[in-house]
Symmetry: C2
Subunit: 707 residues, 2 copies
């Protein structure tokens, strides 16, 4: 049976409820993110020049109206906090001359309406009372006649409205590894991100700080991607702090007239805990996991950023992988939904997400995956109207065959690779079909069944047409594209591996794709961790986990051997020396801390520990662990209900469950053994399923790994 | 022959050229206005509480990209001024480490691109060089892949970017007309608008300023529509200035612990010159003209405001009349286009203009009228994309008959009158048909002929259906509405007078409308100057100018008799005493300085002086003067080429022409006489046409007024 996304609806139709214990700051959904995106996106610099995004950046709605109705049992004193100017109406009557710290609302049923104006950041309010208080059940409108449920986050302090949001800071120090007159090179030991502190600077002149992910970059000065020039003009020492930058090395060059005591930094970070974990009998894989995790930590900030040195922007395709990696590590839904709102901005949709055709699709798929892992229906309902206009934009640009292709102004990305990007690219049609499924599911959850039906039907139709159009019995694969009615002769990995991942190929086709594409070295190789993400996953899906793990050791291990303390944007083992650092025609253009490089954290969790949800929020889940040639593996995978823990060696599997129904699937040479009462079902030759239905219980299963 | 709007196209197809003499600040079209609307709209207060508009207010695009290409004959030093952070690329290359006051651009052909970020106000730039400088020929995009011609205004000072825009100020004083301990009542002599100055306030306590358009309002204190409480807490005198308010009277009440020297004000105004003018043998009409003109002056500010005391907002229907009045007085196109941009804001269109169905139509009609009077094609081209999305919004809400009606969330206004507003109101269909004509014309000018055809066809179709559906041979009129398929029995003035004004009725129908509606006292009377505007115009169109003038004397004269120094929002001669000041359920809710009250300035210019353009920008025009029972009239009507001057008594007409082809139409008992060479054509019984083809010439025509 084919699993389509909508089948999850059978299991889940609950309404997300947020009983509001404590008054919380509320705002127009998505506008915290639209505001933050404006701040974060605009921080990119290149050689001292501001370099904001090249797509439309929206401003939050500066004038919004909050409302809610309360049954007040007895006269109640409320306190009103607002980030912005506001007027208050109770039951439609304007209230004037009141003290917002002690406004008495009479008993009875009352409607409160606050019209709040804030064009500087964005409007938000917090109201504290016994029964009247702000929470997720309030409604808000930008005065376009449509009301939405408000958004809220972890902002409970009346003195700290959401626009005071900030990452956290902790001091870090560096070693001086070169020192000459007025020049020194510092090493912070590993890639990091922070604000540099120049302590007790004095005199007159400039201090130039050249940042480097490598020593070479810092020492290259003018060719370093980022630098700060600090102008000092004083006769009494004082300390200076820069904006936050990414670096491992800093080359500090000061004019003769300037002195300072030392340089250190404030490490800037989003407080995150790894609720996942992985270790195994192979120390290289353990190191790869740790460096990948650190890479993901550095790039998981206000949003999922692509990398920390250069763009520091949100990118739909990059972020999609970060959502998934996040679910196997921090399980921080906030950064996912922040990123999804930020990428989308406001209506109207005038370009693709980041102007990239494929990135619009990853954006829609991301909403689905976030729902699958968290079960958060409230978010789906809030963002659905923007998902629908996004889909309408995409469908409005489909050609007469119902296929999408790059139109003027569209960037067709796919991957950094020398491939055809014009015409009907099969890869893009697969993403479209999957996005239609994701939109159908969201439409169903948001109460728009007609659009759900439309999208489901369109998706089925496109999936059929993909096979009819692009499948070649001669090539035993989907061909790359069709242009002006002529099919390409070229086979690439992209569409074929997604056909496996999306389960859009039948078993016979999957086998052919495995042999003629995935395991065929004559097909153009992938050289970015970005597309490696999907290639490795498809290798695992077709049962080639050992090959996938070997590849990880070679490719990621290769970067570690070159001294990487974080994973790179791209890596070509055939390059030598400083060639590794060049990209985009610039000697240090490559990002050496790039989120998409962190994908082993996802791969190990999903395909070695083998844990994944099969219905939203892990209400049901599967554990299908694999040693992939290792002696033992051990780890944790977070869920909304705590972390599932697993240990496996060649004869024993131990699982600690969470709430929800888990199914353990294993291969064993003999009938596995568990404690009394555990149902073990043989499902095929040496294949067994074991139901783990009791939450928070440690199960131990004895088995024998087949040769 | 029926004159439809599109026929003007035959005469005019020139491209608007703006040779740029001097470097000027440039910005994204409409965003100066979107920013200013945010400021102005948010200034409304009611009883000390902020009261911003109840429709969606947009923010300007905070990140835009300006570009232009120049042929530079020799290396050239340019100065770059920007309101915002920016990066500069020349021929695609990022420029770093440059002095924006002396950047040298090498000779040759170069493309300059500036990406400018400003979320506080809006991005704007000014570049000064010998050949490279900012002007209207630059292009700009909000990064949605569409480029527009930039907008610019009268901002040439590099130190004063457009976001420093301010009205002007001049000191005014008042007489104290009541004085008691800690209380005094001031009279500024007439309605005015300004910031109050409290000179040398000292001590501890509050000074309460209650503003009144009447003494009664100021003295009513808590019931005054606006007031300021100034908190004083000092032991050394200092002066305080309030925000700008509307008032004639101020009642100042201070706590015993506070003292001050005196109160005066800074009159706040847009510098405007009356390029029109009107006087006649009737002194009451002359007073009415003067008071109307002053009313228009006070309400013509950053935008055309409805009134100065209460809303101080832009309203599509009110503004439409102000555009037209403006063309007979100040001829200040800037305030018209500012208002049109501000009313519209950004896409997407989610509600009608001001949420009012009819106001969307007036907005589209306003673009047409602005073009007719000024001939400014550049503005039409810039705003056309938003006109098209506005029209698409309206058409998307039409019912199966192609008619519009109020849908949930729509406000159907028409007038302050007890009339049916639900269902298919005939009046709204007339506005729709006219708006379709206006959109067709704009589409043609903006190079979208397919949409022009669509709108023209739709308009013709709707005009036909209006007559088929609403014309009653029994009532000899258009009936008011149809609801659930049932025609109303009611006839109102609205649709019928617009059928005359829009020339949508044939001569036979017009005659019937005149006798059975316009001159029929049993039809519900109009009690707002707002709809009087159209009623008086339609009276004039059907040849009843004397009746119109009599009405003006009665109605406007009635307000003057009650001491009005500006014209009111509404006036019912049957009301008594303070009843006149109440509205919206509040004793002083009525605005006593309301733009729509100023309509005599339009009426006298268009129907007594009888001057109007017959092709855009007065390339051709008609002068059809009428004494309407007066002994003599005299006046001026501005055009883009100077003012046409006219004097008329019962035997002589003197006209001073401007460039363009003028046609004088008069009734005379004998063949008129003019100097040699002037062509006089008899066009009917006692009807003559005289071609005034020489610009800036004073023609004298002798004639005899028929009895």
């Amino acid at each position: 049976m084919k699993t389509t996304l909508l089948s999850f609806l059978i299991f889940f139709s609950f309404l997300s409820a947020f009983p509001q214990e404590k008054a919380v700051w509320i705002w127009y959904p998505g506008d915290f993110e639209v505001w933050l995106q404006r701040e974060v996106g605009g921080r990119r610099q290149e050689r001292g020049q501001p370099y904001p995004p090249f797509w439309r950046i929206d401003s939050p709605y500066g004038l919004v109206s909050f409302q809610n109705t309360f049954e007040v049992p007895e006269p109640e004193t409320i306190k009103i906090y607002a980030d912005g100017r506001y007027s208050l109406r109770i039951d439609g009557n304007l209230i004037s001359d009141f003290d917002p710290m002690k406004l008495i609302v009479p008993s009875g049923k009352h409607q409160l309406l606050l019209l709040v104006e804030n064009y500087k950041t964005f409007p938000s309010i917090l109201i504290e009372g016994k029964t009247i208080r702000t929470g997720k059940q309030w409604l808000v409108t930008n005065q376009n006649k449509t009301y939405f449920s408000v958004d809220a986050g972890d902002f409970y302090d009346p003195m700290k409205p959401p626009a005071t949001f900030s990452l956290e800071y902790t001091p870090i120090t560096a070693k001086i590894i070169q020192k000459q007159t007025n020049k020194m090179l510092l090493d912070f030991g590993k890639e990091t991100f922070g604000k540099v502190i120049v302590r007790n600077a004095n005199g007159t002149g400039k201090i130039r700080l050249y940042y480097g992910e490598t020593q070479q970059e810092a020492l290259a000065q003018a060719e370093a991607e980022t630098y700060d020039y600090i102008d000092i003009n004083r006769n009494k020492p004082a300390s200076d702090t820069t904006a936050a930058r990414a670096f491992r090395y800093i080359y500090a060059v000061n004019d003769a007239g300037v002195s300072y005591d030392d340089l250190s930094a404030l490490y800037e970070y989003l407080p995150l805990t790894n609720k996942g974990g992985f270790s195994c009998s192979d120390t290289l894989l353990n190191r790869i996991y740790d460096v990948s995790l650190y890479t993901l930590l550095l790039t998981t900030r206000e949003f999922h950023l692509d990398g920390i040195k250069r763009d520091r922007w949100t990118w739909g395709g990059d972020a999609y992988q970060s959502y998934l990696m996040n679910f196997y590590t921090f399980f921080d839904e906030g950064v996912n939904t922040r990123t999804l709102w930020a990428l989308r901005g406001h209506d109207p949709v005038e370009t693709h997400i980041n102007t990239i055709l494929d990135y619009s699709f990853y954006w829609m798929m991301g909403i689905y995956d976030n729902y699958l892992y968290t079960g958060d229906t409230a978010f789906v309902k809030q963002i659905y109207p923007r998902m629908k206009t996004m889909m309408e934009f995409c469908l409005g640009r489909a050609n007469k065959n119902g296929f999408v292709e790059g139109l003027p102004g569209d960037w067709v990305f796919i991957d950094w690779a020398p491939i055809e990007k014009s015409g009907e690219v099969s890869f893009q049609q697969l993403l479209l079909a999957r996005s239609l499924e994701a939109t159908a599911l969201s439409a169903q959850l948001a109460g728009d069944p007609d659009y759900a039906t439309k999208c489901r039907d369109l998706s089925e139709n496109i999936r059929k047409k993909i096979v009819e159009t692009f499948w070649s019995d001669q090539k035993n694969a989907l061909v790359h594209s069709r242009k002006e009615g002529v099919l390409s002769e070229t086979v690439t990995r992209y569409a074929n591996m997604f056909a496996i991942l999306f389960d859009y190929a039948d078993p016979e086709m999957k086998k052919k794709i495995r042999d003629h594409v995935i395991l065929n070295d004559s097909i153009l190789k992938i050289t970015t961790p970005y597309m490696k993400f999907y290639e490795l996953a498809s290798l695992c899906e077709i049962g080639e986990k050992e090959k996938a793990i070997k590849f990880v050791k070679d490719y990621w291990g290769g970067m570690l051997n070159l001294g990487a303390t974080t994973i790179w944007e791209a890596y070509d083992p055939d390059q030598k020396g400083d060639e590794h650092y060049a990209m985009y025609g610039r000697p240090f253009g490559k990002s050496l801390c790039h989120a998409w490089g962190a994908n082993p954290v996802y791969l190990f969790g999903k395909y070695l520990l083998g844990i994944k949800p099969t219905s939203p929020g892990y209400a049901t889940y599967i554990i299908e662990p694999s040693l992939a040639g290792l002696e033992w593996i051990k780890g944790k995978v977070p869920t909304p209900n705590g972390s599932i823990e697993l240990y496996m060696n060649q004869s024993e599997i131990r699982v600690k469950t969470v709430s929800g129904k888990g199914t353990l699937r294993i291969k064993s040479d003999k009938e596995p053994k568990a404690e009394n009462g555990v149902t073990i079902t043989r499902t095929g030759d040496k294949l067994y399923e074991i139901i783990l239905s009791i939450p928070d219980k440690e199960y131990t299963i004895r088995y024998r790994l087949p040769e």
